[in-house]
């Protein structure tokens, strides 16, 4: 007899989708997420393309499906230590890291007010800071605070413990490992943005006003570090001119050889964020080719009329050290003109790196040369879903994960 339960690793939109779909077909699901909240990268997005609606409502629906479904067990702050066995009979060791905050937490926030420590807010890509005890973000699910034990001063400080009215903080929590038996596994650990410092001629990390597309999502989000106002990181000034630099480390033999397929649409979408806040701003997008596939053509045609579309891969970006204004060196391939374009801010369209390039599945698995789970050599019983297989947008990830859920269910009834 095969085990009926399914393990889903990764609680982003792909993992959440696989979990709810499989559980609603009657399978018990363990959903394991390394962060303190579910939703992954999607929680950091301001709006979806092409509808320009916020992702929160979709996530809320999914979280509601999880809450209503007794078959799903969620483990946040957890990771997979080992996998043994085969299709139908896997034994998986899960390590659950301490949150230091228990079920009593009401997210009142009094603890954070007294915390003396600061840490860069990774949810906002380090643009702002939080305390050592913090709420990951406004819509965190589960809605509980968490302590970053790398910076927390511990029991010696204890200020949060004394101020908490609900006895919710337990500084002596320790990591726990436990085993689960499952019939199949869905691996949906998602992606990381390509490290833009590697494209060194663009000056990311040196020039404060060169940011990446994922950072732009946070700047534009109402729950972001600026309350949704798009301003220059160097001085907080309004943006009068901005350049979107496409293929920053993509389609490039020295960086990511592939096209991530979403960055053109993301930049077109982000140009609408800028235009809606600053209708007179000069928005330029520099590209090799615009890849707005399928039905996205309509969005591309609509947006391109409002902005400056310039065909040409940007060369060097330089900064005036006094004003932090940026100058872009680029050749307009349609006119042959060599341009030096001065702008307030640059957004680098960086691509997607599979999380499996960094953290592999602790089980024999085949990957392609870029670290994506190879589609043709999956082990029976372990299925990749979403961006660990190839770069995908959210809608495609959801479909891919639904398909992975079906494969996972089949693995639980094969014998």
């Amino acid at each position: 007899m095969a085990f009926k339960s399914i393990l889903v690793v990764g609680g982003g939109i792909s993992g959440v989708t696989a979990a709810v779909e499989a559980s609603e077909a009657g399978n018990e699901v363990y959903l394991v997420e390394k962060e303190s909240y579910l939703g992954g990268k999607v929680t950091q997005i301001n709006q979806y393309f092409p509808k320009l609606c916020p992702p929160n409502c979709g996530l809320e629906i999914n979280f509601k499906r999880i809450k209503q479904n007794p078959l799903i067990r969620v483990f946040t702050l957890s990771e997979i230590e080992s996998i043994e066995g085969q299709e139908g009979d896997f034994t998986v060791t899960v390590k659950s890291n301490p949150r230091y905050v228990n079920q009593n937490c009401t997210a009142c926030g009094k603890c954070a007010e007294v915390c003396p420590v600061e840490r860069p807010n990774d949810f906002n890509y380090g643009v702002d800071k939080t305390g050592a005890i913090y709420k990951a973000h406004e819509f965190a699910f589960p809605m509980k605070y968490v302590i970053d034990d790398k910076v927390c001063l511990g029991a010696e400080c204890g200020k949060c413990v004394s101020v908490c009215e609900y006895d919710a903080i337990e500084l002596d929590m320790t990591p726990k490992s436990f085993k689960v038996n499952v019939g199949s596994i869905v691996w949906a650990t998602g992606w990381d943005p390509y490290d833009a410092t590697k494209v060194d001629y663009y000056g990311f990390g040196q020039y404060p006003n060169v940011i990446t597309n994922v950072m732009m999502e946070r700047l534009a989000a109402s729950n972001g570090p600026t309350g949704g106002k798009i301003v220059r990181p160097s001085d907080g000034k309004e943006v009068k001119s901005i350049a979107f630099v496409q293929c920053a480390g993509s389609r490039d033999e020295n960086h990511l050889t592939y096209c991530s397929g979403v960055c053109c649409m993301a930049s077109l979408k982000q140009s609408t964020y800028v235009k809606s806040q600053y209708p007179d701003a000069k928005v330029s997008m520099f590209y090799i080719d615009v890849r707005a596939m399928g039905k996205h053509e309509e969005f591309y045609l609509k947006v391109q009329d409002d902005i400056n579309m310039i065909k040409g891969k940007v060369g060097e970006i330089t900064e005036d050290p006094l004003t932090h204004d940026l100058t872009i060196q680029v050749e307009n391939q349609l006119t042959g003109e060599n341009m030096k374009e001065k702008v307030d801010m640059v957004v680098l369209a960086t691509g997607m790196v599979p999380a499996t390039a960094r953290t592999k599945i602790p089980f024999e698995t085949t990957y392609d040369e870029d670290g994506f789970i190879a589609s043709d050599s999956q082990k029976p019983g372990i299925y990749g879903a979403g961006c660990v297989k190839k770069p995908l947008d959210v809608a495609s990830s959801v479909k891919d994960s639904t398909a992975a859920a079906l494969k996972a269910i089949q693995s639980t009834v094969r014998r």
Binding site: N254, I288, G312, K313, Q329, E331, Q333, G336
Partner: protein
């Protein structure tokens, strides 16, 4: 709008057959043109020369690339090459396109005496072959033999140019100081041929290279120390194509290793602010970035400054690809930007490790009349200066 031109696939095929194997990989994104040092200067050549467009003309066999300001503008600094998203061998393509006209006898007027001297004397500087080793008089340098580990191959420039001879002498002194087993074959050597190959004269390069390969093989040379990163490039990357397989190192690499092993120490002190200019052929083309810096920092009192464009982003001095012989109007020379940067950073000395860079930076420094605040030195000279007692 450019005028309409005829596409010539025969021309394209001819360029490709001359060595431009990767020409068709170019997707015309233009990154090359926008990382090109010509974007940092103004002038006629900067306006005419567009490396992206040159690849395009080659791909379609269109005329226009053979204009001197376009065809012979590239300094082969490699900034485009190392960053090209399609790994197009841009410099090979330039070389091949130059070859299509040079092989037909159309070397630009200003370069003909250079090629003539290489044919007649085995060096580009119109120096007599008998005087190639003249700089060694009184230095007591052993001839290379089966018992010596390294051949010290000295660049033509440092054999004939009086300013540049100081480099050769300083390198010899340091190698002796570190106890390196080396010898020379200078009077029988000819130019490595690196620059003339970049200029597109494949035939002349082959003649020079074969002469050296034959000499080296007949004497049993296995390992070579070069004073110039250009000779290093040639021995490492060009000579194997002709069957010459030698283990070549730039003197900075060897001295850097010996420093780490404790076999080289710099006794004296030189309390100066020193900026290092990475030569393209040492840095981008051979990926040596750390050794020269470690040597500089081994000098007590020396404070290392980094220029604005450094290491793999270093700005070319303007002397590669045969441009060391080009007449460039004042105000359009890359070297001037380097001097200005070093002066702005308040460096006392601008150190580099290539005879061409020395020539170009010296010219720029005196042209800008900055000689009173900035000294240009070759690394070996700097290390020797530190070793000597103060007068």
């Amino acid at each position: 709008m450019d005028e309409v031109k005829e596409v010539s696939l025969e021309m394209r095929d001819y360029i490709v057959s001359s060595g431009a194997d990767t020409l068709s990989l170019c997707m015309q994104c233009g990154l090359c043109t926008n990382l090109c040092p010509y974007r940092l200067v103004t002038g006629e050549v900067s306006e005419a020369f567009n490396i992206r467009k040159m690849q395009r003309l080659g791909q379609l066999g269109l005329e226009g690339f053979e204009e001197e300001n376009i065809l012979f503008a590239c300094v082969t600094c490699g900034m485009c090459l190392v960053n090209c998203p399609r790994e197009v061998e841009i410099i090979n393509n330039v070389r091949s396109m130059r070859n299509t006209t040079v092989a037909a006898g159309f070397l630009p007027g200003g370069l003909r005496p250079i090629a003539g001297s290489l044919h007649a004397n085995g060096n580009p500087w119109a120096g007599e072959q008998e005087k190639r080793a003249k700089w060694q008089d009184g230095l007591d340098i052993p001839a290379f033999s089966e018992e010596t580990e390294y051949l010290l191959y000295v660049c033509c420039t440092s054999c004939y140019d009086t300013r540049s001879q100081k480099i050769a002498k300083s390198v010899v002194k340091l190698l002796k100081q570190a106890g390196v087993s080396f010898g020379v074959l200078t009077s029988d050597e000819v130019c490595c041929g690196e620059s003339i190959r970049k200029l597109g004269d494949e035939e002349l390069f082959t003649k020079l290279a074969q002469s050296n390969i034959q000499l080296f093989n007949s004497k049993g040379v296995k390992k070579i120390i070069t004073t110039s990163p250009h000779c290093l490039f040639s021995f490492k990357k060009d000579y194997p194509e002709l069957g010459g397989n030698f283990e070549a190192v730039h003197y900075t690499e060897l001295l850097g290793d010996l420093l780490k092993e404790g076999k080289l120490s710099i006794p004296g002190e030189l309390a100066k602010k020193v900026a290092f200019h990475d030569p393209c052929y040492l840095g981008r083309h051979n990926e040596v970035y750390d050794a020269p810096r470690e040597l500089l920092q081994a000098v007590p009192g020396a404070e290392l400054l980094e220029l604005g464009r450094t290491k793999n982003k270093s700005l070319c001095c303007g002397g590669g690809g045969g441009r060391v012989w080009a007449e460039v109007p004042f105000g359009e020379r890359f070297g001037e930007l380097r001097i200005t940067d070093a002066v702005d950073k308040k460096a006392d000395i601008l150190v580099t490790a290539c005879p061409y860079c020395i020539t170009m930076l010296d010219d720029a420094c005196s042209g800008l009349e900055k000689g009173d605040v900035l000294e240009v030195m070759e690394l070996s000279e700097f290390l020797c200066a530190a070793s000597q007692p103060k007068v």
